[in-house]
């Protein structure tokens, strides 16, 4: 449900008369109503044509000097950003700044210029060969290969006199419009100046959506046509309705003002997840490390429903020691003394490759050796991780539960449970992300103590749709009735198993307040989400009784499409429109 568009012209995609309102419809992925001025993310730098020659009248000496000057200014820009950054981001920026004026890179480009190449083409080729060399070295070096390509693109942009690729740097706040954002863009995205995110591509599970929710920024994805909005134009973004309106009118201004007030009240969760009639649904946080855990505890999280342990391993070319792991896990457990912390064992593979565990040459990595399956090819890593978890748990006061990602069969669940038992871990569980695990949850749950639905992967596998692809955005939503049915089957399997073992949700779905109500109605026992969404979900959950939630779940399951499931449920929850969620 969007706001009414205040124009008799209605939805008008063409730039028509002065009075017409231009409205772009996309998918709302993070709520918020805001007005601001647009900054387009510069287009990626195009490759200078192969064989491009030095311009007539330009001597090789002058061309080399020009290249050096461009390289120096790219260096200075990156160095300036490094000076204001902190932590890992700072170290990466410092190294990248040095690459810009690297003698190896510039000398090999100078050689090409002296042989008659244009400076743009010369630095392009020099960058390609250095990047390939690093790529072939593997491990940490291979990861830096993309930094060289980034530097190369910046130097070419500088030589051409066009804006550098990446998020524009600006001191005045703006609404960022891009085709899509990459995980790497998060490091340079300053939430103090970026008011909202709008993309023409991407889907509800894209990185843009995940970044926006974790930063609490309103966001609309897959909004066709927004690429044509001029820099500096004023727009109104409604991150719940998924709409972007050019030249906002009085009504939109009032809505943005109202949101600024309600969002302040939606910032705090009282730490008590419950329906109106007192059916308890603990609201937990998804965290990636101690810093997140402390922040989540501060925002009222009732525990941790998903502790991603990859952070301990990423950017590593060897396995961290048991001591090192135990210390890192304990730091998270210590943020939640006496509360539940559900830890997920290493989930490498697919979009999270690790040099010592996964094979980067797999033709189909989402269906490859990932998650729990890395134990088939690299035995030992999982056992050592379990040892570290058990040690950290014994030294902390948290109630530690441990689950394996990408479990497909009851036999895998049984084996994981016995590894946990051997390590001294009391509560083993499984992630339900593979449809086979949802369909056989009664037998899977016989082996372990609990299940947690990872709705992002469950959706991608149920719909056979890559979660990163914009054109598949419509398939890739947990509102798909087929996905909701798999959730229901998992809960039914638990009842059938006989011990009513807990079935939680820890995917992005839990952060959508309307979907959180549906999941509660389906019988899910806990909801885990990015900590920023706790307050909104908690507020909406309190407005419905369990019986109403069950009714809404039946309604969603009966819908013929994801769009209708969402629209039907939202229509019955007017509180969402009131709060701008």
């Amino acid at each position: 449900m969007g706001l009414p568009v205040p124009s008799p012209a209605g939805l008008n995609q063409q730039a028509g008369t002065e009075d017409s309102v231009q409205n772009f419809q996309g998918v709302g992925v993070s709520p918020g109503r805001i007005i601001g001025s647009v900054r387009q993310m510069p287009k990626p730098v195009s490759e200078p044509p192969s064989g491009e020659r030095l311009a007539a009248g330009l001597s090789p000496e002058d061309a080399v000097a020009g290249l050096k000057a461009a390289a120096q200014s790219v260096h200075d820009e990156l160095k300036g950003r490094a000076d204001t950054a902190s932590g890992d981001g700072k170290a990466v920026l410092e190294a990248t700044a040095l690459m810009a004026k690297d003698t190896m890179l510039l000398k090999s480009a100078a050689k090409l210029i002296n042989a008659g190449s244009s400076p743009e083409r010369a630095i392009w080729e020099a960058g390609a060969s250095v990047s390939e060399m690093l790529h072939n070295l593997g491990g940490y070096m291979a990861e830096r290969a993309t930094d060289v390509l980034d530097v190369r693109a910046r130097i070419v942009a500088e030589l051409r006199g066009v804006p550098a690729p990446g998020i524009p740097s600006s001191e005045t706040p703006f609404i960022l419009v891009a085709e899509d954002l990459a995980p790497a863009d998060t490091a340079t995205l300053n939430p103090a100046v970026v008011l909202a995110l709008v993309t023409s591509g991407g889907g509800p599970q894209s990185h843009t959506a995940i970044i926006a929710r974790s930063l609490g920024l309103p966001a609309v994805v897959a909004a066709h046509g927004v690429d044509s909005i001029a820099d500096g134009s004023e727009v109104y973004v409604d991150g719940a309705a998924g709409s972007v309106t050019l030249d906002p009118g009085e009504e939109q201004r009032a809505a943005a003002t109202a949101w600024a007030e309600t969002s302040a009240t939606l910032a705090e969760f009282d730490g008590n997840g419950t329906t109106a009639d007192g059916h308890l649904v603990p609201l937990l946080a998804n965290v990636g490390g101690a810093k997140d855990a402390v922040a989540a505890a501060g925002l009222g999280a009732q525990g941790v429903g998903l502790f991603r342990t990859e952070f301990c391993f990423l950017e590593r070319d060897t396995e961290p020691s048991v001591d090192e792991q135990a210390a890192a896990y304990k730091a998270v457990f210590d943020a939640f003394p006496g509360k539940k912390v559900v830890l997920r064992t290493l989930d490498a593979g697919a979009d999270k490759p690790l040099p010592f565990l996964t094979d980067a040459t797999e033709p189909n990595p989402a269906l490859g050796v990932r998650g729990y399956r890395t134990d088939f090819t690299t035995p030992g890593v999982l056992e050592r991780q379990l040892e570290a978890i058990a040690r950290a748990a014994s030294e902390s006061e948290a109630d530690v539960w441990v689950m394996a990602p990408m479990i497909s069969t009851a036999a895998e669940a049984g084996r994981f449970a016995s590894l946990c038992a051997a390590a001294g871990i009391k509560t083993p569980g499984v992630m339900v992300e593979v449809p086979s695990a949802a369909l056989t949850s009664a037998t899977v749950l016989r082996e372990v103590g609990f299940a947690s639905l990872g709705t992002n992967d469950l959706t991608q596998y149920a719909m056979a749709a890559d979660r990163q692809l914009g054109p598949l955005a419509e398939l890739n939503t947990p509102w798909q009735p087929a996905v909701l049915r798999l959730v229901q089957l998992t809960v039914e399997g638990s009842a059938q198993e006989g011990n009513n073992k807990p079935v939680g949700v820890c995917g992005e779905a839990a952060a959508d307040p309307a979907l959180a109500v549906v999941l509660t109605g389906l019988g899910v026992t806990t909801l885990s989400m990015t900590a920023r969404s706790l307050a909104a979900v908690g507020t909406v959950l309190k407005t419905v009784t369990l019986e109403q939630a069950q009714e809404l779940a039946r309604l969603a399951l009966s819908a013929p499409s994801a769009t209708e499931a969402r629209d039907w449920v939202r229509a019955k929850l007017p509180v969402l429109e009131e709060l701008g969620l």
């Binding site: 170290a91 190294a95 040095l98 890179l105 690093l134 070295l137 070096m141 060289v148």
Partner: protein, 92 residues
């Protein structure tokens, strides 16, 4: 030509932050300094001020490298750089 050997002390080897700090320090010296793995021919030595060269060298913790430089201030430059390599820069 003055030369020195040094044992890499940083835990991550001459990658990442240690490589950046070392390349920057090498670039600030008044003379050009080269770096090679011990036992490698002097002709294969790389520019010590180039972070990309350092990364392709792939020196790990405990590896021994040879630094070379010529001209005024070469000895002082080499001494300063050896000290840097023999410090665990990851710990700072």
């Amino acid at each position: 030509m003055p030369e020195r050997t040094a044992t890499i002390a940083s835990r991550s080897g001459l990658h990442a932050r240690p490589a950046a700090l070392f390349a920057e320090a090498a670039g600030e010296q008044p003379v050009e300094v080269t770096i090679a793995m011990q036992g490698a021919p002097a002709d294969d030595a790389l520019d010590a001020a180039s972070i990309l060269s350092l990364m392709t060298l792939g020196a790990a913790k405990g590896d021994v490298v040879v630094l070379r430089a010529e001209g005024d201030g070469a000895d002082a430059a080499l001494d300063a750089l050896v000290k840097l390599l023999e410090t665990d820069l990851d710990a700072e």
